[in-house]
Structures are given as C-alpha cells and as structure tokens.
C-alpha cells in the first residue's frame, strides 16, 4: 500500500491539481450558501450541518474522480492490476488517499464555515472532527468502490453521482443529524453516531473484499 500512497503523494506535490481544485470548489460552495442565506437562517444548526456536508459531498466527488483519472492516462490502471499485490490493497490505498485529501480540505473549510455562519462555541463542537472523520471514511469507502467502476466508462462524470448518491443517503442522514446536534450544543447523539460507524465498517470491509471483482473485467 505504501508505494501507492508514495506515488499519489508525489503526483499531487508535482501537479497540485487535486487538493487545490477541492479547496477552490469547497470555499466557493460555502461562500455561495453564506451569501444566499439570511443571518437568521444561517444560525440554524441544521443549515450549518447541511452546508458542511453538501460541501464535503461535492468536494468528495471531485476528489474521487481525480484519484482514478490519474490512473487512466497511459493505461496505468492496468499496470496496477498487474502488480503483485491484492486489489484490496489498491482499494485501501485509494481510500486512504481520498480520506487525507478531504481531511485537508475540511481543516480549512469547517472553521471557515462555522465562522461565516456565526456558530457560537460549545464543548460539543470538540466532537465535530470525529464526526467529519467518520463521514469522510464512509463516503470514501463507498465512493472508491464506485469511482473504480465509473472511471472506466465514457459517462464517468454522470455515472459516479448516479451510482453513489442513492447509496450515500443513510450516511448523509446520520452525518447531518449528528452534526446538527453538535452545532446546537445538544447532548451526545449516540444513535446516529453508531449508524455512521456501522456504515464505515460495512463499506470498508465490503470494498476491501470485493474490489478484485470490481476492477477486474
């Protein structure tokens, strides 16, 4: 897995295409929403939660497509299939790369969003990084699986959201509910957090197990 991560990191440092485009997209989405909402609307916790996850969703789609597009040029994806490691390793490497990219984006975008929306401080916000991390892992696990399918088709830009979004609904409902509760300073939202955790476990394990069937013809 480490050679794959090393290679992806080198490519990103050389081109700076992936993270920079994610930053620009995420910041633009946040700004559009902030300008569109009235101050009263902006301070509602469910609006803040929705904005955080919409931003992450669109940035994540872009990140997933970039992760596999770099493998399409000059047929490199076939070379990865020839390498003597299990396809599950490729899945984990791509998953980890996507999680790191989205975390980098969230490190900037989340404080910016909370600041622009005027969210007041409460101790429950300390749990927000954990919720974002769980959401990003679940999103990336399912997304990596479908991006590997979509990228090899001609309609890849359309196919990925069409395949992915319906299956992400449970994750998004859970993530928005937990985030909303945290922004409102509510007590520990245990049930939804368990849904997030279960989603992560199910799709990380499933992805690792079935990636060979997904990427091989």
């Amino acid at each position: 897995m480490w050679p794959l991560l090393w290679k992806d990191l080198h490519l990103e440092l050389r081109t700076k295409e992936r993270v920079s485009s994610l930053f620009v997209l995420a910041v633009l989405i946040v700004l559009v929403f902030v300008f569109a909402l009235s101050p009263e609307q902006a301070q509602r916790p469910e609006v803040g939660a929705a904005l955080l996850w919409v931003t992450l969703l669109f940035a994540g789609m872009l990140s997933l497509q970039r992760a596999f597009l770099i493998e399409q040029e000059r047929g490199c994806f076939f070379a990865l299939l020839l390498c003597p490691f299990e396809p599950g390793t490729l899945f984990l490497a791509k998953l980890l790369g996507n999680v790191v990219s989205l975390l980098l984006v969230e490190v900037v975008v989340t404080p910016l969003t909370l600041l622009l929306l005027g969210v007041s401080w409460s101790p429950s916000l300390l749990l927000l990084p954990l919720v974002l991390l769980l959401g990003i892992i679940g999103f990336s696990a399912l997304g990596t699986l479908f991006a590997a399918i979509a990228v090899r088709t001609r309609a890849r830009e359309v196919l990925l959201p069409v395949l992915l979004l319906p299956l992400l609904v449970p994750l998004l409902i859970a993530a928005v509910n937990v985030t909303s509760a945290l922004l409102a300073g509510s007590p520990w939202p245990g049930a939804w957090l368990r849904v997030l955790l279960a989603f992560d476990v199910i799709f990380v394990v499933t992805g690792w197990l079935i990636f060979a069937q997904v990427v091989r013809e």
């Binding site: 290679k7 080198h10 490199c76 076939f78 390498c83 003597p84 490691f85």
Partner: protein, 243 residues
Amino acid sequence: MNKWVIEAKNLRKTFAWTPVVDGVSCCIGTGEVIGLFGPNGAGKTTCLRLLATLLRPSAGTLRLFGDEPYRPSVRRRLGFLGHDSFLYADLTPTENLIFYGRAYEVSDLKERIDLTLEQLGLRDWRNTPVRAFSRGMEQRLALARALLHDPDLLLLDEPYTGLDARGVATLQATLGRAKEQQKTIVLTTHDFALGLPLCDRAVILQGGRIAWQSDDRPPPVPEFIELYHAVTQPSALSPQPSS
C-alpha cells in the same frame, strides 16, 4: 516440476458476443521466444492480455508456471509491455521506476534502476518528467518498467513501435540478453525483419484462431512473408466449396 511456462487450452475471448480469440491452445516452455503474427484485428493483443491476466478468458483454461495465473506470486514473474506505456506522465523516469520497483519489492532498487536506465540509454533523462518524452523515449522507458523486476516471462505487444534505429538496436540487444538468461518471451509485431530472427517458434493468428504455427524455428523472412500472405489472405480461412 512443470516444464511449461504457459499452458493455454482452448482460450476464447468474446467482446459483445463477438469472438476475438477463438480456441487458442499453446504450450510454451522456459527460454522460448514465440512470435505472434497476424493482420490487424487478428487477436494478437487480446491474446497477450489474456496471458498477462489483464483479461479473463470467456472459456478455456490458462496456467502460468504451472499455477493459477491470477496469484500475486505468478504476476510477480510477468513483465508486460503493451500499447500504453503504463507510465505516470508527471513523474520522472526515476520516480516511475521507484514506484514500480517498490510495488514489485525489487531488491537493490537504486542500482537496478541505474543499470536499467543505462542499458536503455535514458540515464541523461532520469530527472525529466515523462510528459516531455518523445514516443520512442517513452517506449524505451516502458520497456525499462517491464524489465525492472527481472521477470521470467516477458509479454511484448509491438515493442518496436515508435523506436528510432538506436532504440531498435537497444531493444534487440535487451531481448538478446533476456533470451540468453532463459527468459520466456512472447512478442507480437508487424515487423518481420526485426521480430522473426529472434523467434524459436512463430504463430500466425487470423480471425482469433491459430491459422499456422511452426514446430521449430520459423523459415527465413522472405519465405515467411509469402507464407504469411498465403495464410492471411481473406479466402484462406473461408470454407472451400467441395468438388
């Protein structure tokens, strides 16, 4: 110990119900160099991709080194050069080879990369991104990638494409060395003059089937060209009316 590097029985591959490879069987032993010849669309590339485990056969069986071919331990022994170079355009040759070397767990990687780049005449370009390379230079680097982990079986799909005279000489020398080291080589080419003299056996494919194959060294180039044209002319495989 199994003496065959490749054992293919009735390999068949269909794309959208159209057979592209149709009942190909062959056994290839250690150190043999096999040339796959045939017109465009004969199924040469699909055959090589089947042997490289990049495609799964629709029917038939394939064994490599006497083993199930999709195991990592078997794939480690394959070197494949295809139409695509499998190189990352934004990385330098050294970075590309470091990645593939680590993926294949090549020992003494730095020395191995230096040697391979030296042998293929790319030493001076080691730190230039591949995006700046000409087609021929990229082909040479693709060959370096395929050879880096010292594979026992080399599958080369039209390896002479884009190479200049010096590149061709380098490739011939590299293949000669591989042959001396008892590597098994399967190559496809349209260049009979370059490919045929290397071959211990030759196979002509037509319409996804083996139309002709030699049991030992193929005939000299002029005779082979005549044979090739006779075998691959459109009427050669069509059913003959009974007299």
